[in-house]
């Protein structure tokens, strides 16, 4: 290991060491002062964010090409670290109220974030797999964190069993790609592909990896776990999981397919097309039937995975590829901001764990807590894609790039499913404003900060999206 290698690894190393030390420090922090653990973990994330942003513009590989720093990785890292900060805020505002406050929560969150960062930076299938596991194992534990509560235990166990199964798929795919190319490096696989040409091992290996990652980001045939896990896990965990795991999973998917298997595009594009279409359709249709807000948002997050995947469908069309990927990255920002805001509102209405999560519990929110209702309205509009919110801009860029690549059907489907989704998003708005009720939202300063800031950002960035889109288009994988 040389000094150059280490400087590439620095942000990740700082986060990992910080988390390990925090694990010990937390033992000496008394039970009623766990706020210290929360602030220390936030400090670690902020420090890593600073170090990571200092790498902006750099393009280099280290550790024998295994670890990569490029604008794409820096962009995803920044987004992941901000999601981690959002996760800490959300947790600090709610887990004590829900009786699940233990210091390990924050350390596990830090470990999970470092796994996600590793997935964005790894250029080696072994390292990618380790990142995937380092992301997942803390999330399994966090999902079951409200332990004596049965639905949380169920969520943890279900996520663990299906997640282990999906990891098996990923690993099997890795083994096949290794068998076909004799290396686990993404660049080596691309080289072996160009020499050996189209053969069955590459195809099956790529398909298995797609299944493994498709599970993590909840694409439709592999989405079964999502509603139960999102509903059973503590709300703060769900908010973090919905954003972080998706961002990391898509980052890995993008990197594997563009760097290792670019020649596979003609074979993969129809599959991606179908997955994206199915995910948008089923996610939005099933969300209509939900009575529970957490389940509704779970199906909504499935549907959004379909929209994000849309950006990846034209990866075989060279002139559109970069624009589409930039649109996808932009949509990830959109999704993360809106998602954290919406989950913060859900958490504010969940006075006790598992209470106040039905749609009817939101009745009367418009007159009782107008600011909260307004923020939720903004998030719902953004998820639908209605002006003046960030969701509209994100979807506009997405649909435009897909149309440029000639996938008209997919764009039409995207618009139609957005129309369908308006039904259940706006139903919640109608319930909040039109129906009388006595909701009892919690006024926690940290939660207020989260949903307030996210609502403002959602509107603000929709008015000036150019800097964000510029940043996204600079961060495309090349």
């Amino acid at each position: 290991m040389t000094a150059a290698d280490f400087s590439l690894f620095l942000p990740l190393a700082v986060l990992l060491i910080w988390a390990t030390v925090l694990l010990i420090v937390d033992l000496f922090i008394p039970k009623e002062r766990k706020g210290w653990t929360a602030s220390l973990s936030a400090l670690g994330l902020a420090l890593t964010l600073f170090l990571s942003l200092r790498q902006w513009g750099e393009t280099a590989s280290g550790f024998g090409e295994m670890l990569r720093v490029d604008p794409f990785a820096t962009f995803i890292n920044a987004l992941l670290l901000l999601s981690g900060l959002g996760g800490v805020l959300l947790a600090y505002g709610s887990i004590r109220r829900h009786g699940v406050e233990r210091g390990e929560y924050y350390t596990l969150l830090l470990f999970s974030v470092s796994g996600m960062m590793l997935m964005a930076q790894a250029r080696d299938l072994i390292l990618l797999f380790l990142g995937l596991e380092l992301l997942s194992i803390p999330l399994y534990v966090l999902a079951a964190f409200a332990l004596p509560r049965l639905d949380s235990e169920e969520a943890g166990l279900k996520y663990f069993l299906l997640g282990a199964f999906a990891s098996g798929f990923f690993l099997y795919g890795t083994a096949l790609l290794y068998g076909a190319s004799g290396t686990t490096l993404l660049s080596g696989i691309a080289q072996a592909w160009s020499q050996a040409g189209r053969n069955l091992f590459f195809l099956v290996g790529a398909a298995l990896i797609l299944v493994g990652l498709g599970f993590k980001v909840a694409l439709v045939p592999f989405h079964m776990w999502t509603p139960d896990v999102y509903q059973g896990a503590p709300t703060a965990v769900t908010g973090f999981m919905a954003a972080g795991a998706k961002i990391a999973g898509f980052a890995a998917l993008w990197r594997i397919f563009t760097e290792a298997l670019p020649g596979l595009a003609p074979d993969v594009t129809p599959i991606l097309w179908a997955l994206s279409a199915l995910t948008m359709l089923l996610g939005n249709l099933l969300a209509i039937a939900q009575k529970n807000v957490k389940r509704m948002l779970a199906y909504s997050s499935i549907a959004h995975a379909g929209y994000i995947l849309m950006a990846f469908v034209p990866f075989g069309v060279p002139q559109v590829r970069d624009v589409a990927l930039a649109a996808g990255l932009f949509y990830l920002i959109t999704y993360a901001i809106t998602n954290f805001g919406a989950w913060a509102v859900v958490s504010a209405l969940e006075r006790q764990a598992g209470q106040g999560l039905e749609l009817d519990d939101y009745a009367g929110l418009g007159s009782k807590a107008p600011a909260l209702a307004l923020a939720m309205t903004v998030f719902m509009l953004s998820l639908t894609g209605v002006p003046p919110t960030l969701g509209l801009i994100g979807k506009f860029y997405l649909f435009r790039s897909v149309i440029e690549a000639g996938f008209y059907g997919l764009a039409v489907l995207g618009v139609l499913t957005s129309l369908i989704s308006a039904y259940y998003y706006l139903r919640l708005v109608v319930i909040m404003y039109m129906r009388p009720g006595e909701p009892q939202p919690v006024a926690n300063p940290w939660l207020n900060l989260t949903w307030g800031a996210m609502a403002i950002l959602t509107v603000l960035f929709s008015l000036i999206p150019a800097p964000l889109f510029w940043w996204a288009s600079q961060s495309v994988l090349r």
């Binding site: 390990t20 080696d124 072994i126 380790l130 380092l134």
Partner: protein
């Protein structure tokens, strides 16, 4: 008949017999011990194949650590003797069919496809030695190695968290 073949045949017999013994014994502790014997025999196979490191890993990890855990669990749960299980009517015919399929496959592979067109790259000679493996782990694969240690730490912390009783 060379010595190596003789050794192989004896070991193969032991391996098959211990695997059968594990399946057929109704006493869970006996079954676990048969499995240990099976693992140990497989370890000797690895030695025959010139892979001493994998052989030692097989003994320490599988025959040692994992099987001791198995025995602990069996004895702690106190379910040494299995209750007679209900006989499923379709089980025997299905097992017979599957075994027949396996037999047909191996006969085909052994006798009718003598020249398998599989050409694997030759492994580097000291590939299997502990020195080569150690060198690979601490140079080329340093980063995955370190990440694995973190991963194990996280898994351990998670397991303790989930099973600890609240005081």
């Amino acid at each position: 008949m060379s010595l190596e073949l003789l050794l192989f045949l004896i070991l193969a017999l032991i391996a098959i017999a211990s695997a059968l013994g594990m399946l057929l014994s109704r006493h869970a502790v006996y079954a676990a011990l048969f499995l240990v014997l099976n693992f140990a025999t497989v370890a000797v196979f690895y030695l025959l194949l010139n892979a001493p490191f994998i052989a030692m890993a097989q003994i320490t990890v599988y025959a040692g650590a994992i099987m001791v855990l198995f025995l602990f669990v069996i004895m702690l749960l106190g379910t040494e003797v299995l209750p007679p299980s209900p006989v499923l009517p379709w089980q025997r015919p299905l097992a017979f069919l599957l075994a027949l399929g396996l037999l047909a496959e191996s006969v085909y592979l052994l006798f009718f496809r003598q020249r398998l067109t599989l050409s694997l790259p030759a492994t580097i000679d000291p590939f299997s030695g502990p020195k080569a493996i150690g060198q690979a782990l601490f140079t080329g694969y340093l980063l995955p190695f370190e990440i694995t240690s973190i991963l194990l730490l996280v898994a351990m912390v998670g397991a303790i968290l989930l099973t600890r009783k609240e005081r």
